[in-house]
Amino acid sequence: MLSRLLSNDYPRSRVLAVILVLLFVALALTPFLIPGVKALNVAAKILVFFVLVASFDLLLGYTGIVSFAHTMFFGIGAYGVAIASTRMGPGWSALALGTVAALALSFVLALAIGLFSLRVRAIFFSMITLAFAAAFQTLASQLSDITGGEDGLTFKMPELLSPSYQFSETPLFGVSLDGRLLCYYLLFVLCIVLFLAMLRVVNSPFGRVLQAIRENEFRAEAIGYRVVVYRTVSSVLSALFATLAGAMLAIWLRYNGPDTTLSFEVMLDVLLIVVIGGMGTIYGAAIGSALFVVAQSYLQDLLRLASDAVAGLPWLAALLSPDRWLLWLGVLFVLSVYYFPSGVVGRLRELQLPRSARPRAARPAQTT
């Protein structure tokens, strides 16, 4: 049963399994374990990023395509919900219509990009997506009549998911049972379902072919796989998952704007999470998102403590100032690429493997 659910892709490391179970429990019980709005927001953000990063991993880790336009689809999902909810007023039909329309747009765009990618070198493709994503973001802020421009859109959710909706007068374990809580669990369930779906995709015969293409496209074609088709399908799939992640974010925030979903910064976060977690392992997205979002949310608080502690040394205090939290995030960035080349998941798995099967530091074989 579990094996079916996980598509026979177990964490393959005891430590990893324990961490994942703990993470699952923690996310499931956050509203009851840690009181406060902030904690719940952090947990929700982890859920959304998990889906987003896993969808990116499908593209990057499994298919070997480096695209900087992934947040575009994330943004499309969020804008879909936002625009529909603003125009049609809060309601389930707005949610559904917005999501479906966003999926359709993502589908078309991903298809177009997928086909274009065939024409240019991989590295060019990445640079082009970078420019493309920037242009899309500008477009979103220019079309202010539809998208709310730079300011973005603030909107309401169906009554059932709004904070004002109370479905029980008496709080449970001190937590008020309101629409917000319901909304959180909606995200939670969505996240788990989407995760299992992606796990299944990468462990299907299709997913295996993707890995082959990543390793050696030329040979994959030579043994009879139509690389173009596989690539395109995988771009489209990953775009659709990212779109759903965007919709989830919009549902939670009840806000969307260009900076929130389309900015390059979000793309950077996604990249970093993939690397921290471990590329080509959907599980990595979970660990990475949790680590990163928590670090990002609490780093400033931590730095405040640290800089107070060294207040006597002005230079050090300036470096440790909470305002310079990005500096430390950057350091984290560099260190994680240094010390976790295969990510947390990769690392844990290596420790678990029998010696003979551990990956070796090998130079790539020359191909013709």
Binding site: V120, A122, M127, I128, M279, L326, L332, F333
Partner: protein
């Protein structure tokens, strides 16, 4: 290079484009203003992109941190020029140059020194792996930008152009800013020196070979390690120079300026074709011209002019106008 082997089509692109828009612009003086300004802008872009042609084009290192060196150069220039108020305030061009030249030299030296550290601690472990390069140099970019904020503060700092370099020269009804002409001279020098070094020495070859198979280059007896460091440092220094030029053009600097120009210069390199100095120049000139022409003729499209240009070029030559590598 043999003149017969020269692929002239991309070079012809620049005048062809300029002549093509002439009828649309109408007024010849406006056309001259737009064209000269666009070409000069292209030269400035070329200067800031030149460091990256070395690092990205030859060494195949996708250095997202390149922008930091540009910003660094500009900030160093604010400090140097700030300390030389006497010279910058003077209306004599020569006294101005006496201030700007040291600013350039110091900026290049500082950028080179930081480049040395950057190579050692950030780039070295990730040669040959694009994805990791992107990630780790992004990290380096963030760190660099934040350190600039720690040293110079987060706010915008004015970098006024020395008196004598301000204003325009007039050719009939057409006006050309003096500073842009200076940029053309600097750009031409950078271009010439780069071209000469790469054509006259084995350095270019060695680096390209080293990117493909480092071990083999070492087995041939070359210390590719040192060479890579050297190229990276020169690339950083050029970025520092570019920063000074760019900062003086904008007349103010912000810590984010590096990130702001990153995408632009990557596009220039893609248009030009990786590793080609001439290509980078052609790409930069095209970008500079296109921006002005579309800005004048169809302002709505100006925002996307670079992307459209890039797409068009890639449809024509998928490797950029001059592709050295396969």
């Amino acid at each position: 290079m043999n003149l017969k082997d020269l692929d002239w089509k991309p070079l012809a692109l620049v005048p062809v484009l300029a002549l093509l828009v002439l009828p649309f612009v109408g007024s010849p003086s406006t056309w001259v203003t737009l064209t000269v300004a666009g070409l000069a802008m292209g030269m400035i872009i070329f200067i800031i992109a030149s460091g990256l042609t070395l690092v990205f084009g030859l060494m195949d290192v996708l250095n997202f941190g390149h922008g930091v060196f540009i910003a660094l150069g500009a900030f160093v220039a604010t400090s140097v020029l700030g300390a030389m108020g006497d010279y910058t305030g003077s209306a004599s061009l020569w006294r101005n140059l006496l201030a700007v030249l040291p600013a350039m030299v110091v900026a290049m030296l500082v950028a080179a020194a930081v480049g040395l550290a950057f190579e050692r601690f950030i780039v070295r472990p990730v040669y040959g792996n694009h994805l990791k390069q992107i990630l780790i140099t992004m990290g380096g970019m963030i760190i660099g930008e934040e350190l600039i904020k720690v040293i110079w503060g987060p706010q915008q700092i004015p970098l006024p152009l020395p008196e004598g370099m301000r204003g325009s020269l007039y050719f009939g009804d057409a006006a050309v800013e003096k500073y842009r002409l200076i940029a053309v001279v600097v750009g031409a020098i950078v271009f010439g020196v780069l071209l000469w070094t790469l054509a006259r020495t084995k350095i270019g070859l060695l680096i390209r070979a080293g990117v493909q198979d480092r071990e083999m280059v070492e087995s041939l007896g070359y210390r590719i390690r040192v060479l890579f460091v050297g190229v990276f440092v020169v690339g950083s220094a050029l970025a520092g120079l570019g920063g000074v030029m760019w900062g003086l053009y904008q007349q103010n600097v912000v810590p984010q300026m590096g990130a702001q120009v990153n995408v632009l210069i990557f596009m220039v390199l893609i248009i030009g074709g990786l590793g080609s100095t001439t290509g980078a120049l052609v790409g930069a000139l095209l970008v500079g011209l296109m921006a002005n022409y579309t800005g004048f003729l169809v302002p709505k499209a100006a925002l996307f002019s670079n992307i459209l240009l890039m797409m068009a070029i890639l449809l024509w030559r998928p490797q950029g106008v001059y592709a050295l590598a396969k």
